[in-house]
């Protein structure tokens, strides 16, 4: 019974969302607000039950003296609440500094050794068929090198507009980079369209199968 009710609610909400095809209307707005409200409420409950209670409150309630280091994050968290009041907002500065400091250190280190340097190394490829592993691989590597250099030169703004010995080459390279970027944006858009078609198919399956029972 509850499963059937859930299917009906889900089907009606799906149709309410699709009513946006005829334009903005109260049904679509209602479904949108329900989605946002339920998402925020669910996230709050999950944070309380999965993060705060098992990882902070329970250790402190079980053995406060033994788990005294847990008071430090508790204090930082409480100080963070002071940010809501203008006159006492400075109390939360230390918490924000801690968050930003740790976050920035991890993010910079991770980006440097997890993305930047490995991707730089991956761009250092051979363009000779003998060492690249064949003509197709060499052509692919040439395309990769030209696209990378062109895209980088497109974002090179410090040359200025004056004519110089390397300006023509830079202009040509940045033009290549512009087209590489356009093709990339096209690929991203195409993938997005494919994703939306997949989501449409999943909803059609749900409406025809789970709701209307037309599919075996």
């Amino acid at each position: 019974m509850s499963e059937t009710l859930a299917v009906w609610i889900a089907a009606i909400l799906t149709l309410m969302v699709y009513s946006y095809l005829i334009g903005d209307n109260p049904l679509y707005r209602l479904a949108q607000h329900l989605f946002v409200g339920s998402s925020v409420g669910y996230a709050a409950v999950v944070v309380i039950h999965n993060v705060l209670r098992p990882r902070l409150f329970e250790p402190l309630l079980d053995d406060a003296s033994g788990n005294w280091p847990y008071f430090l994050p508790l204090l930082l968290g409480l100080l963070l609440l002071a940010k809501a009041r203008g006159t006492a907002a400075w109390l939360g500065n230390s918490s924000v500094a801690f968050l930003f400091g740790v976050g920035a250190a991890l993010a910079i280190g991770g980006a440097l050794f997890g993305s930047f340097l490995p991707q730089m190394q991956a761009s250092w490829v051979s363009v000779l068929p003998d060492t690249a592993g064949g003509r197709v691989a060499a052509a692919n590597n040439i395309l990769l090198a030209v696209g990378t250099i062109g895209t980088l030169s497109y974002f090179y703004f410090t040359m200025g507009v004056r004519k110089g010995p390397g300006t023509g080459l830079l202009t040509f390279s940045s033009t290549v980079g512009k087209w590489v970027l356009l093709i990339t944006f096209g690929a991203i858009f195409g993938n997005r369209v494919m994703a939306y078609v997949s989501l449409l198919i999943e909803r059609i399956y749900f409406l025809l199968g789970d709701w209307l029972g037309l599919l075996g």
Binding site: A43, V46, V47, L106, G114, S115, A195
Partner: protein, 527 residues
């Protein structure tokens, strides 16, 4: 800069609160009238009580109105701090004033009647000074009062007592020039900003005794040398001139569309919707299975399958479900087929999610597949739930697994054999790659939404460092995985609809472009 009245800290001029102590800095002080000491709000330039001009705070001495020059002082030495050039300029000005005064003395000697000379105080004769503060408003000092024997003096001078005749005959020419002509009524004249005299020789002349002209002398203007405009300024000026001279364009005619036109415009939209809906629904209703036997397999999906298929029996695998309901249509089929493969290989699973919704969405799939393979919670698989999705989250999971607290699930010295990431957003994939895969060197594969694929593929193509051993993209990737593993599921069944929808979209784009260029060509030919 504003100085804080509480702590004395210096703040920016527009600051409302002190940057040090947070005290409100308040509004700036007003201006006090130098004549009547009436306080005024900032921005007031004329006293509302006495009409005197107000000198705002912060005005430098050079901007203060000049003091009127007294003939005896004009030749004085320049004041301290005054530049020689300014002193010379003042000296030149004072010489002109001296010449004017000398001329006035000469005219005075020629035109002053005998009766007026009698009124003059002889040299050395002292006049009893009357304190001007004792005077009432409108009362004249004694030295300005008409003497009692004024009529007799006029008679001795041989003139009548008619004021008009006296004024016309004896007022100097330069003063007579100030009197308005043809005005009989004094009230008519005094309508201006300064009252006119109502009696005596100066009748009809205004502004002779007011203090306002003294305070209203404009400040000395600083000479500005004309600069040379740049070529860019000339270009902008030319552009402005051309824009101004451009003839006005006719306004865009906005005409209400007729009902038929509206229907035609919306019908194109609805036709597009209908074509897409038919392309999706018809293959589903027909139960088409063309893709199950003809669909090609991508290298990324094959790499992911191989990585999982090569796991030893009982290997510990971390699976992260980092997506939300918006992309669940793509991600749930991926998760289902990969979990089936993992459990089929006998892997022990640790599930986690960096999004709150991901934990809920994964639990249902995990329990369904676990039931199919007889997996028991706590022994064969474990759910860690939601972990806050910031940089420290993934790293803390890997660190906690290696602690003795997990000895009931993780064997001594055992490490993760593989990380399987399901990402609906690029940031979660990067978190695992940058915070776990790179620092700990753990093997990793990923199933991502189609929108994430362009951001994930460079990591998969980095063969030298093997950042991603396999990459599965969208519903298509799930279908490929189902086909490789030989388990036809919902993803593979959806592929015919996906293919037909893609063909329909391509046709719609072609038709739209043909219509656009056809209209353009027709318009060009018509012109």
């Amino acid at each position: 800069m504003i100085e804080c009245p509480e702590c004395g800290a210096t703040n920016k001029p527009e600051s409302r609160f002190c940057g040090e102590c947070g005290q409100p800095l308040g509004v700036p002080k007003g201006v006090t009238c130098p004549m009547c000491e009436t306080p005024h709000a900032p921005g007031i330039t004329v006293c509302t009580e006495c009409g005197a001009r107000l000198i705002p705070e912060g005005v430098s001495p050079s901007e203060v109105p000049l003091e009127p020059r007294v003939p005896g002082e004009v030749a004085d030495a320049p004041e301290e701090g005054e530049t020689p050039g300014a002193a010379e300029a003042d000296r030149g000005e004072s010489e002109e004033i001296e010449e004017d005064v000398a001329g006035e003395e000469q005219v005075k000697g020629e035109t002053m009647p005998p009766w007026l000379r009698k009124l003059e105080v002889a040299p050395g004769e002292e006049v009893a000074e009357q304190d001007e503060d004792d005077l009432e408003r409108g009362e004249l000092p004694d030295w300005l009062e008409v003497p009692p024997d004024f009529e007799e003096m006029l008679g001795e001078a041989g003139v009548t007592s008619e004021e008009e005749e006296v004024a016309r005959a004896d007022v100097p020419a330069w003063l007579e020039a100030l009197r308005p002509e043809g005005v009989e009524d004094v009230a008519e004249i005094s309508g201006g900003h300064s009252p006119a005299e109502v009696t005596g020789l100066l009748k009809g002349i205004g502004g002779t005794l007011g203090i306002e002209p003294i305070l209203a002398i404009p400040p000395r203007a600083v000479p500005v040398e004309p600069g040379t405009p740049s070529s860019a300024a000339y270009e902008r000026a030319d552009l402005l001139r051309s824009v101004i001279r451009e003839p006005a364009r006719p306004g865009i005619e906005v005409s209400d569309r007729s009902g038929v036109e509206k229907l035609a415009a919306s019908s194109v939209r609805w036709m597009t919707f209908l074509v897409l809906a038919v392309a999706v629904v018809v293959p589903i209703l027909l139960g088409s299975d063309w893709s199950e036997s003809n669909m090609p397999t991508g290298a990324g999906t094959q790499g992911m399958y191989d990585a999982i298929d090569g796991l030893p029996q009982g290997a510990m695998v971390l699976v992260s479900f980092d997506y939300d309901p918006g992309v669940a249509g793509e991600m749930v089929p991926q998760a289902r087929v990969v979990l089936s493969h993992l459990m089929g290989r006998g892997a022990r699973l640790l599930s986690v999610s960096l999004t709150p919704e991901g934990a809920r969405l994964s639990r249902r799939v995990l329990e369904e597949v676990a039931d199919d393979y007889g997996y028991r919670y706590g022994e064969d698989y474990l759910s860690l739930g939601y972990v806050v999705g910031v940089e420290a989250g993934p790293r803390s999971i890997v660190e906690r697994i290696r602690t003795p607290d997990w000895s009931d699930f993780v064997g001594a010295g055992e490490d993760l054999a593989l990380i399987v990431e399901f990402a609906g957003d690029p940031q979660y994939l990067r978190l695992w790659l940058e915070q776990v895969q790179g620092p700990y060197g753990l093997p990793m594969v990923a199933g991502v939404s189609a929108t994430v694929d362009p951001f994930a593929r460079p990591y998969y193509l980095n063969r030298a460092q093997r950042q991603l051993l396999g990459l599965m993209t969208g519903l298509v990737g799930a279908a490929e995985y189902e086909r490789i593993s030989g388990e036809a599921g919902p993803a593979l069944a959806s592929m015919d609809s996906q293919s037909v929808a893609h063909i329909a979209l391509i046709l719609l784009i072609l038709v739209g472009n043909l219509a656009y260029f056809g209209n353009s060509l027709r318009g060009r030919l018509g012109a």
